[in-house]
C-alpha cells in the first residue's frame, strides 16, 4: 500500500476550511448525536449511508448537462446503475471526482458496512479496528491523529458533563468532586470500569471522525473539480 500513498496531507490541521463546509460540519454533529444512541452496527450503517449519499450529491452536481435532471435521478435511484454504494464509489473515481485515497477509504467503509449489515450476531467495531484505521488513512499519520482526536473528544465530553453536573452537586451533597479537570482525571484514573467504558466508546468516535474527514475530502475534491470547470467552461449552473 505504501507505494500508493498520496502526498502527505495534514488533514486535521492544514485545511480547516474543507471541514467547516456546512454540510460537513452538520454531518459530524449528526454522527455524534446518533452514534451515541446506536449500536456499533447501526453506526456503521449510518456512516455508509451518509458517504454514499454524499457521493450521489457530488455525482449529481458534476454530471454533464446531457444527464442532468430526471435522467441522473433515475440512475441514482434503485434499481438505477448508480444506486449502489459501490457503483457510486467507482464512478466517482473513474470520473475524477474523488482521488485514489478517498476512493480507497470509501471501499474500506463499504466493506465494513456490508459486514455489519450481514452480521447475524452482535457486530463490534472494536473487532474491526484495523479496518477502521485503514478507512481513516487519508494521508500519512492521519489515522493516528484520528485516534488521538477521538480519545480527546471522548474525554472532553466526559469532563464537560462532569463539570456541569459538579456545580449542582455542590448544593446536593455539600461538595463538588468535579470542580476541575484535574479532579475529574483523578476520579477517572481510579475507576477502571469507567476507563473501560470510555475505551468502548472510542471506535464509534473514530468512525465518526474518520467519516467526517472522508466526507470533507469528497466535498472538497468535488468543489475543486467544479471550480476547474467554471474557469474552463461557460458557467451553466441553474
Amino acid at each position: 500500500m505504501g507505494d500508493m500513498d498520496p502526498a502527505p496531507v495534514d488533514v486535521l490541521n492544514d485545511e480547516p476550511h474543507f471541514l467547516s463546509e456546512p454540510e460537513v460540519a452538520q454531518a459530524l454533529e449528526r454522527m455524534l448525536n446518533e452514534f451515541q444512541r446506536e449500536t456499533d452496527r447501526g453506526a456503521v450503517l449510518i456512516a455508509g449511508e451518509m458517504v454514499s449519499a454524499q457521493l450521489a450529491a457530488e455525482i449529481r452536481a458534476l454530471a454533464p448537462p446531457e444527464l442532468r435532471g430526471k435522467r441522473i435521478n433515475e440512475l441514482l435511484k434503485y434499481p438505477g446503475f448508480l444506486s449502489s454504494f459501490s457503483a457510486r464509489c467507482d464512478v466517482a473515481l473513474l470520473a475524477g471526482f474523488i482521488d485514489a485515497s478517498a476512493h480507497r477509504s470509501t471501499v474500506v467503509l463499504r466493506r465494513l458496512r456490508n459486514d455489519a449489515a450481514h452480521s447475524t450476531d452482535a457486530f463490534s467495531l472494536a473487532v474491526h479496528r484495523e479496518r477502521l484505521m485503514q478507512m481513516c488513512s487519508l494521508g500519512s499519520g492521519v489515522a493516528a491523529s484520528v485516534s488521538e482526536f477521538a480519545a480527546k473528544s471522548v474525554l472532553d465530553d466526559v469532563v464537560y458533563r462532569l463539570k456541569q453536573r459538579g456545580m449542582t452537586l455542590e448544593n446536593e451533597i455539600g461538595r463538588n468532586p468535579f470542580s476541575s479537570a484535574a479532579e475529574i482525571f483523578e476520579h477517572l484514573s481510579v475507576r477502571p470500569d469507567l476507563m473501560a467504558v470510555l475505551d468502548e466508546r472510542m471506535p464509534k468516535m473514530e468512525l465518526a471522525i474518520g467519516v467526517w474527514l472522508l466526507l470533507g475530502l469528497i466535498v472538497h475534491q468535488g468543489k475543486r473539480r467544479r471550480a476547474e470547470r467554471t474557469t474552463g467552461d461557460i458557467d451553466d449552473a441553474n
Binding site: 466526559v158 458533563r161 462532569l162 453536573r165 446536593e172 451533597i173 468535579f178 470500569d193 469507567l194 467504558v197
Partner: protein, 366 residues
C-alpha cells in the same frame, strides 16, 4: 518495676518485695496470706515460667511467675481497696505494648483505663462464699489515708462477711435511658460517648439509603455513558456497595436473618442480577435482585427482594420500571414471603400469577 515491665513477668518474690516497699499493712498481711492467694482473689494467675535456656543448656528450672500486666492489675485492685501504693510507674511502662495489642485481657484493660479511672472506679466488694456466711451483726465505716471509704460487715464474733471500698471521686452515674433516633431508627444511650459515636457512624450509613443523596461514582458513570442499572459479579465495587446497602435495609426492615447480597464488595453468584433504581438526580432510590433458581433440571428467574427508600415509595417508581423488568427477566417468580405492599402492587399490575409456583407446583419454598 522496670525489670518487671522489661521481662514481662514477676516472680512471687518480686511481688512480695513491692508490697514490702509500699504499704506497711500490706507487708504484714503478706506474711500470713501467700501471694498466690492474693492473685486468686482478683482472678489473676501465677504460672510456671522458665528463664531462656543458653544454647548449650539441655534443661531449665522453672519457677512461679505472674505476668507484668497481672501484677499491675493486682496493684490497681489493692489501691481500690484503699491501700497506699503507686501502680503508675508500672502502668506507664506497660502502656506502649497494651496500646498496640488488638486484644486485651481483663488485667490489661484495667491497666489501659487506669489513669482515666483512678480513684473514680465503682466500689469494689469482697465477700465470703455463701456456704460459709455467718449471721451479720454489725457494719462499720472507715476512711483510709488515701480517701477511700471502707464498709465492713462482720458477724457477732468479728468475722468479716463483706467489705466494700468506694473510691473518693466515684460518682454514681446518671441512669441513662436508651433513645431511638427518629431519622435512622438506631437505639443509643445519651451521655455515653461510645454509644453516641456508634450512633453517628451508623446514622451516616443508614441515611445513605434512607435519605439517599447523589452518588459521586454514579454521576461519573452516567457522564461516561456506562450502564448504571445492572449489577452482576463483574460490576465495579461501588455498585456492589450500593446494592448491598439496600439488601441490608431490606433485611432490617423485615427482620430477616440474612442479607441477600453477598457483600459490599461483590457477589460471585453467576446467576445474580442486581438492578439499581436511579433517578435523574443520580440518586439511587432503591434496588432489587434476581437470582437464577434451579430445581430438578429446570431453571427460572426469581425476584429475590426489592426495596425502595421509604420517601420514594408509592410514587410510581416501580410501575415505570416494571415493563423493563418484565421484558428483561420474563415471567420471573416473586419469591415469598411477599410483603403486603408488593402484593398490592402485583395485583394492580395484574401480575399476581408471578407469586405462584413457577413451572411446577412441587417446587420448594425459599
Amino acid at each position: 518495676m522496670g525489670t518487671i515491665a522489661r521481662n514481662g513477668w514477676a516472680s512471687l518474690e518480686d511481688i512480695r518485695d513491692i508490697l514490702y516497699l509500699t504499704d506497711a499493712r500490706l507487708d504484714a498481711i503478706a506474711r500470713d496470706v501467700p501471694i498466690r492467694r492474693w492473685c486468686e482473689c482478683f482472678d489473676l494467675r501465677a504460672r510456671t515460667i522458665f528463664p531462656r535456656p543458653k544454647k548449650s543448656q539441655a534443661g531449665v528450672v522453672g519457677y512461679d511467675g505472674v505476668a507484668a500486666a497481672d501484677v499491675a492489675a493486682l496493684l490497681i485492685y489493692l489501691e481500690r481497696l484503699g491501700y497506699e501504693l503507686e501502680p503508675l510507674p508500672l502502668v506507664e511502662r506497660l502502656m506502649d505494648v497494651i496500646r498496640s495489642n488488638p486484644y486485651l485481657t481483663n488485667a490489661q484493660l484495667s491497666v489501659l483505663w487506669y489513669e482515666r479511672c483512678r480513684h473514680k472506679c465503682e466500689p469494689l466488694v469482697l465477700y465470703l462464699a455463701d456456704a460459709a456466711r455467718p449471721k451479720l451483726a454489725e457494719t462499720r465505716r472507715l476512711r483510709t489515708t488515701t480517701g477511700y471509704t471502707i464498709e465492713v460487715a462482720t458477724s457477732a464474733d468479728g468475722t468479716p462477711i463483706w467489705l466494700s471500698a468506694s473510691a473518693p471521686k466515684y460518682r454514681k452515674r446518671r441512669v441513662s435511658t436508651p433513645e431511638t433516633c427518629l431519622q435512622c431508627g438506631y437505639v443509643w444511650t445519651r451521655g455515653d460517648p461510645d454509644s453516641s459515636a456508634a450512633h453517628r457512624r451508623e446514622h451516616k450509613k443508614r441515611l445513605s439509603y434512607l435519605d439517599p443523596q447523589p452518588v459521586v461514582e454514579l454521576v461519573a458513570a452516567v457522564a461516561a455513558g456506562e450502564n448504571t442499572i445492572s449489577v452482576d459479579r463483574t460490576s465495579p465495587r461501588w455498585k456492589h456497595r450500593e446494592i448491598y446497602r439496600r439488601a441490608l435495609a431490606f433485611k432490617r426492615e423485615f427482620g430477616y436473618d440474612f442479607v441477600q447480597w453477598q457483600s459490599d464488595k461483590g457477589d460471585d453468584d453467576p446467576g445474580a442480577a442486581g438492578v439499581l433504581f436511579c433517578n435523574a438526580q443520580n440518586v439511587i432510590v432503591g434496588a432489587c435482585a434476581f437470582r437464577l433458581r434451579e430445581y430438578q433440571g429446570r431453571s427460572w428467574r426469581a425476584l429475590q427482594w426489592i426495596w425502595l427508600a421509604p420517601k420514594y415509595r408509592r410514587s410510581g417508581i416501580l410501575t415505570t420500571r416494571w415493563f423493563d423488568l418484565r421484558r428483561q427477566f420474563g415471567d420471573f417468580r416473586v419469591e415469598p414471603p411477599v410483603s403486603e405492599a408488593m402484593q398490592a402492587f402485583l395485583k394492580k399490575m395484574g401480575d399476581e400469577s408471578l407469586m405462584g409456583a413457577p413451572l411446577s407446583s412441587t417446587l420448594p419454598e425459599r
